[in-house]
């Protein structure tokens, strides 16, 4: 008899509940972990997600038909208990904890273990089956302390008062986190933002996340942005859009920046290793901590994590999910 949870290339199917977790095709019933495009898609019949994730989805896709599930709240669906637990990835991100037939399954979605001023920290839940991401599933990925990366950003800003620092950061999550981290380090100057992130920043502010003074980078004379930080989506770093800026120092906030060649390919002068995903040590420590009987690895560099599990006597399998991982998210 097949297990009550079935991995498919298009998502994870919870049979007794007749519901899909993060399906990549439109489904009647979807349980969504968080708002990034490779997990949350438009067109589902009904969505269960946190209030924040539903708001993000409404902003991006206009989907309104959803049930808000609070962190810790329990929902019952065809003999399955479903709980949403903080994943520490972005605002509203959740692990989905499923209980059925005396078994507990945790689907992490994307997660990290570092503090993030824009979302609740990851809660480890011991379980039987642990379904984990593996975006940075290679031991070369070791994210440094966020504070030291922020200090490098501020140092670059202060040594070049006639220039600006343009930080490429994913529009949902990374951008707001970088801004909040800067505020936490005592940087209270106005920060200029690309038009594509204005509405998302406003949404974060509606949820009570204070980002200080944000100004649109559009329609402002270049002179005014000298000595300031400008945040844009990574795709705008080398685009025509950036021509309006005063001699920008190109920075990028991403876990991929740990590899030199990756940074150079993107013409990045100031690579900031700041990630919203677990690094290698966080991945392996988390698996040890939740101590599952079986680990399923959804996306990323799953071969290395699979190998690690095998050498540590942890039963594991790699799931081939399609359409996951937008590198800009790193």
């Amino acid at each position: 008899m097949p297990h009550w949870i079935e991995p498919h290339p298009t998502g994870i199917y919870v049979r007794p509940a007749d519901a899909w977790i993060d399906p990549s095709l439109p489904q009647e019933r979807a349980l969504v972990t968080h708002g990034h495009a490779d997990h949350a898609r438009g067109g589902h019949g009904h969505v269960w997600a946190t209030r924040e994730t539903l708001a993000i989805m409404a902003l991006r896709y206009g989907t309104a038909s959803g049930t808000a599930v609070g962190y810790g709240e329990e929902v019952r669906m065809g003999g399955v208990t479903i709980r949403y637990v903080p994943a520490g990835h972005v605002l509203g991100s959740a692990q989905i904890v499923l209980g059925h037939a005396g078994e507990r399954v945790v689907v992490t979605g994307d997660y990290k273990r570092r503090p993030d001023p824009t979302c609740l920290p990851f809660e480890p839940i011991p379980c039987d089956i642990f379904v984990t991401e593996a975006t940075f599933g290679l031991p070369v990925f070791r994210h440094p302390d966020t504070g030291s990366e922020m200090d490098r950003l501020l140092a670059a800003l202060h040594t070049h008062p006639d220039r600006c620092v343009l930080v490429g950061a994913y529009a949902l999550g990374k951008a707001q986190r970088v801004i909040c981290e800067l505020r936490a380090r005592g940087h209270h100057d106005p920060i200029y933002i690309h038009g594509a992130m204005e509405r998302m920043c406003a949404l974060y502010q509606d949820f009570g996340i204070d980002m200080g003074e944000l100004r649109p980078a559009t329609g402002v004379p270049a002179r005014e942005m000298r000595g300031h930080i400008v945040v844009s989506p990574p795709s705008a770093l080398n685009d025509r859009w950036s021509r309006r800026l005063p001699d920008p120092i190109t920075a990028m906030a991403s876990g991929w920046m740990r590899v030199r060649q990756r940074a150079r390919q993107k013409n990045v002068e100031l690579p900031l290793v700041i990630s919203d995903h677990a690094d290698w040590e966080e991945l392996t420590d988390t698996i040890r901590e939740v101590a599952p009987t079986e680990t399923w690895i959804t996306h990323g560099r799953e071969e290395a994590l699979l190998h690690w599990c095998m050498t540590h006597q942890i039963r594991a399998r790699a799931l081939a999910l399609v359409g996951r991982e937008d590198e800009d998210e790193g």
Partner: protein, 527 residues
């Protein structure tokens, strides 16, 4: 070590030349002695360490990390030193991303100097345990020889000169009198002692350079004409005991052309053109394309030397014995050169001939008729001019052969770097095959004005048909008139052709793409 590893990181990520110079200059001012001297040696390629083999590094990492995970990581990262630097787990669970400050660059160099091949992996591992990932990367690059941070020795010296407001040519002059860690150089730069005396060392003298000829003609009673050979400009410096070869940038290239250095034992400084002989040319000078096979190689094999035998065509004699001839007029130096040249090995050295012409018109005819593969044009040198550093007005002119041109079709475009990073400024263009297909024949990223660049950028964006990472494929509709100095056979390209110095001469908005040139047509221009 942290100061040095941060410098290397900065040099890796900084694109602009001035940015790199600023980084080097700041380091040279701020780093302690003798670290900065060792850093200067490393940056200029003067650090003489027994290179640790990459197999030793692999052995070292396999002792600490699961070999499967190491291989997977290496597949992903690419570079061995970087993979190991990122992956390295410290002993006793020490924090891997902290440089504990206990290792100075000098201490690292000293350790690497003294270590035997067998003990190298262990010595490296011990040092790795004190460094952060940037420091480990720097250490492994030092240990394996070759920093590869994309700067030349000349750029490093220029950064040093900038730090202490010195003239880089002055630094060049004293350079070979000194050895790492260059205490005497820093003492001089910071005013603690006088200028080191370069006498008796084979140091580089700045080259005399030419302006392009813009006037309609010059008076040949004032100017002598010589062929401009298409090799690389080279300076031979011999002290009688030692001979070195320098490129135009002042880089020591003796190691790449050992047969030349060995064939010269005189006490003199000469200026000439380094060329290789080609079979096709009947043992005469071959095209630049042939010479290219020998450029940029650290170690040169016997086969390379036999297949592409190098020689120097002499232009000028700067110093003979202890006598500096540079203040003399060209005509006097030429007479001395003509007397000196026959004393040299004729297989390695010959004299660049003066072109005899009765009038400028006659010279123009001779220039137009020159078909020699290795001729790039004509030089005009003022007969009464001394040999002076740099490009001085009205003394030397270069009068290049008119460029060849071809009408090609733009096929792909890529964004540039630095200030051009938002512009599609690098274009791959092609010509038609007999089957009516376009085959790439070259790539150009210069020749256009700022206005034209904006227009080209817009064209690329509006006519993209496919994207491959950073590359855009465009509609094959735009004809570019491409100018190039020469064209050669090449095994590297599908079209079998390689252009020398291609640039965009004109945008031919008027010309339909199907009327562009053919690959067959281009092949007729091969020299």
């Amino acid at each position: 070590m942290r100061q040095f590893s941060q410098l290397l990181d900065g040099l890796v990520y900084t694109r602009s030349r001035n940015g790199k110079l600023d980084l080097i200059a700041a380091y040279m001012r701020e780093a302690p002695d003798p670290d900065r001297g060792w850093a200067l040696a490393a940056l200029t390629g003067n650090l003489d360490l027994k290179a640790v083999k990459s197999s030793a590094i692999q052995e070292m990492i396999r002792a600490r990390v699961d070999p499967v995970l190491f291989e997977m990581s290496r597949d992903y990262v690419g570079d061995l030193a970087e993979t190991v630097a990122l992956l390295w787990p410290k002993r006793d669970d020490q924090p891997p991303e902290i440089d504990d400050g206990s290792l100075s660059l000098s201490a690292v160099i000293e350790r690497l100097h003294g270590v035997s091949r067998a003990a190298a992996p262990q010595a490296l591992a011990q040092m790795m345990d004190h460094l952060d990932s940037s420091g480990r990367f720097a250490l492994l690059k030092l240990a394996t020889g070759g920093l590869r941070v994309g700067i030349s020795a000349r750029l490093a010296k220029t950064g040093f000169a900038q730090a202490f407001r010195l003239d880089v040519d002055d630094v060049e002059q004293v350079w070979h009198a000194l050895s790492p860690p260059y205490a005497a150089l820093f003492d001089w730069a910071e005013g603690r002692s006088g200028r080191p005396d370069p006498e008796g060392t084979p140091y580089f003298r700045p080259f005399m350079l030419a302006h392009p000829l813009e006037a309609e003609s010059v008076d040949l009673t004032d100017y002598a004409a010589e062929w401009k050979w298409d090799g690389i400009r080279i300076q031979i410096v011999g002290t009688g005991r030692e001979t070195r070869l320098y490129s135009r940038a002042g880089d020591d290239i003796s190691g790449s052309f050992p047969e030349i250095a060995e064939a010269f034992s005189g006490h003199a400084v000469l200026d000439g053109e380094l060329l290789v002989r080609g079979d096709v040319q009947g043992g005469e000078a071959a095209s630049f394309n042939a010479l290219q096979q020998r450029l940029g190689r650290k170690a040169v094999t016997g086969k390379m030397m036999a297949d592409y035998p190098a020689f120097v065509r002499l232009y000028d004699l700067l110093i003979e014995g202890d006598e500096d001839l540079r203040p003399l007029a060209w005509a006097q130096r030429r007479a001395r050169l003509e007397a000196f040249a026959p004393t040299l090995d004729p297989t390695r050295f010959d004299l660049s001939q003066v072109i005899e012409a009765d009038s400028f018109e006659a010279l123009a005819d001779i220039r137009a008729g020159a078909r020699d593969a290795a001729i790039e044009g004509v030089m005009l040198k003022r007969r009464d001019s001394p040999y002076v550093a740099g490009r001085k007005a009205a003394l030397w002119y270069k009068w290049k052969r008119d460029p060849l041109t071809a009408d090609c079709v733009m096929m792909y475009a890529q964004r540039g770097h630095g200030k051009r990073s938002s512009f599609y400024s690098d274009y791959t263009f092609g010509c038609w095959t007999e089957d009516g297909e376009l085959l790439p024949v070259g790539k150009a990223y210069s020749g256009f004005t700022d206005e034209e660049l904006k227009w080209l950028d817009r064209f690329v964006r509006q006519n993209t048909v496919a994207r491959f990472g950073p590359v855009r494929e465009v509609e094959k509709t735009l004809v570019l008139e491409v100018a190039f100095d020469s064209i050669h056979d090449s095994k590297r390209h599908k079209s079998g052709l390689a252009m020398r110095f291609p640039r965009i001469a004109r945008i031919r908005k008027d010309k339909p793409a199907h009327e562009a040139d053919t690959v067959e047509g281009l092949k007729k221009l091969v020299s």
